[in-house]
């Protein structure tokens, strides 16, 4: 059954979730990717392996973690390893098929900035920094990115190369000796984008139901390239939407808890 009443964010999460296969080993980046990865696990990919950088491997939380190290990630994991082991054996070891990242700022070649807005030494806005992203971007088999579109986030030129996508495009990645595929997919609240096999520029291949090319361009800071054939993203199924809404409801209930107010 097909649902017609859903939000752009719900469509984004569900479209992103669909990209994961049951056999994938997915390194789940902080933020937006977590919902998509868990919806994949709760729908079509029950055996997908989700890895959080806190060391939890094969985790299956019933609510979305607020942090990447909530206790339930450990409780439901196949195993929990130290953080050095996580980055050495599991990420650098080349065992991860998909790295799923969010982005504060991104360009058309999938280069991501989560470090600073403005100059590095005198930033206008100091962002959190790279965390796991620099090596997720180079060590995972391929990179999926998910974010809400805005001209502030999707820019012609990012302020800082926190993690490398396809650089200036073309074979830039190979020229740096990086052997993994890099960004191959971006899912926004408006569209699904694939990387052009030659230029490695993001190209819209699917528009979410009700979204026009103009709407995509209006929320993107670079001139959007569209594939020769642009189809419509299949709308969420009832199962997908129910699963997502249940997950969000459980998550909200779990995180609101009684506020203590006297200590943080």
């Amino acid at each position: 059954m097909i649902e017609t009443d859903f939000t752009p964010t719900e469509m984004m999460t569900i479209a992103a979730a669909r990209a994961l296969k049951n056999t994938d080993v997915c390194f789940v980046g902080i933020g937006a990717p977590s919902a998509a990865c868990n919806i994949a696990r709760l729908t079509h990919a029950p055996d997908v392996t989700l890895i959080y950088e806190s060391g939890t491997i094969g985790t299956a939380p019933s609510v979305l973690p607020l942090s990447i190290g909530d206790g339930e990630l450990c409780d439901t994991a196949v195993t929990t390893v130290s953080v050095p082991e996580m980055f050495r054996y599991w990420l650098q070891g080349g065992r991860v098929t998909v790295g799923f990242l969010g982005a504060a700022q991104i360009d058309r070649f999938g280069n991501i900035n989560t470090t600073v807005i403005g100059e590095y030494d005198h930033p206008k806005t100091r962002l959190p920094g790279g965390g796991g992203a620099p090596e997720i971007a180079s060590s995972c088999g391929e990179i999926f990115i998910t974010l809400k579109q805005s001209k502030r986030a999707m820019v012609e030129k990012i302020d800082f190369f926190t993690s490398f996508g396809h650089g200036e495009g073309g074979d830039h990645r190979a020229r740096l000796g990086i052997t993994t595929k890099g960004p191959t997919l971006m899912v926004t609240d408006l569209a699904v984008w694939r990387t052009d096999p030659v230029t490695h520029e993001f190209t819209v291949v699917l528009l979410h139901p009700g979204v026009t090319r103009e709407m995509v361009q209006a929320e993107c800071g670079w001139t959007v390239r569209f594939a020769d054939e642009v189809d419509e993203t299949p709308p969420p199924t009832e199962l997908e939407l129910t699963t997502l809404r249940d997950l969000n409801a459980r998550t909200k209930a779990a995180h609101s808890g009684a506020h203590t107010g006297d200590a943080a």
Binding site: D70, G71, T80, V83, F87, R88, G131, T260
Partner: protein
């Protein structure tokens, strides 16, 4: 062999102004009580090391205790940015801290190298990443067999590491369980270490391959139940997510921040942590 003492004694004896200090914890078991005690004792001019500086480093930066920060991800996980850190870096309030920034992979390897007694860590990292341009402590080595160039960063060797753990036994052996993060490495890499624990027990009853720090690798043990709050101690109390969310508002304004710090940190004691988790224990 680990000595048992109160947290105020442990901080007084092991943390000096000007030290390089790590208060480690990867979301889990963050040593909040130790950081608050350091602030109460007026320790200044610290070089703070941590993969994931969160609330406690935001607090220490906001209180002017920090000279330099070595880190890889400075956020309030799942909530947003660290507003006191931002105020220091963007506006110089109360002063501008110096920053040495790495990726998680590099920091984790650098702690690992510190624990392993090596002068540096190598990793296949920073490819195309701009941190290598702004951080002179990111260099490279060449594999003598394949010619591959790999990233190199200095080992982390703190003067003192603070961690929080679930239990210690009476010989000072410490058990860390669940998300163990980089705490074992941070302790083994440091010259001195202070471990606060939920409880001191007769027998750790540890799995043979659990993360255990033998007593002779630890300088001081302090029993501080609740000492990780609002972070969590697996098996004792869950993460107080509401406090993390509340912090975003508290830290947004300098005066609100200072008032909160006076009330909840400067005028408090390590004993308050037990109360702070009492309402959470049933949810553990």
């Amino acid at each position: 062999m680990a000595h048992f003492m109160t947290l105020p004694e442990a901080v007084a004896q092991n943390l000096n102004s000007g030290d390089t200090a790590a208060f480690e914890g990867f979301t889990h078991l963050i040593p909040h009580a130790s950081a608050h005690e350091a602030l109460r004792q007026g320790i200044k001019d610290l070089t703070l090391v941590r993969m994931t500086p969160d609330l406690i480093y935001d607090q220490m930066i906001g209180m002017g205790a920090v000279r330099k920060l070595i880190f890889s991800y400075a956020g309030n996980p799942g909530v947003g940015l660290l507003r006191r850190l931002r105020d220091s870096v963007e506006n110089g309030w109360p002063h501008k801290i110096e920053i040495e920034e790495h990726s998680h992979a590099a920091m984790a390897n650098a702690y690992e190298a510190g624990a392993a007694g090596l002068p540096f860590a190598m990793l296949r990292g920073y490819k195309g990443a701009e941190l290598a341009r702004v951080n002179p402590n990111i260099k490279s080595v060449t594999c003598p067999f394949t010619g591959e160039e790999l990233a190199a960063v200095p080992a982390i060797r703190p003067d003192v590491t603070f961690i929080h753990a679930q239990k210690a036994d009476r010989k000072g052996n410490v058990l860390v369980e669940g998300i163990v993060g980089v705490q074992k490495e941070a302790v083994l890499a440091a010259k001195r270490s202070v471990v606060t624990v939920e409880e001191i027990v007769d027998d750790l009853s540890a799995h043979p391959n659990a993360c255990v720090l033998p007593g002779w690798t630890v300088t001081v043990i302090c029993e501080v139940p609740g000492g990780a709050h609002p972070s969590y101690a697996h098996g004792y109390y869950p993460r107080d997510n509401a406090s993390y969310i509340a912090w975003d508002r508290i830290a947004a304004d300098r005066d609100t921040f200072l008032a909160w710090m006076k009330e909840n940190v400067l005028d408090a004691t390590p004993e308050v942590f037990d109360d702070r988790v009492s309402h959470l224990r049933s949810r553990s």
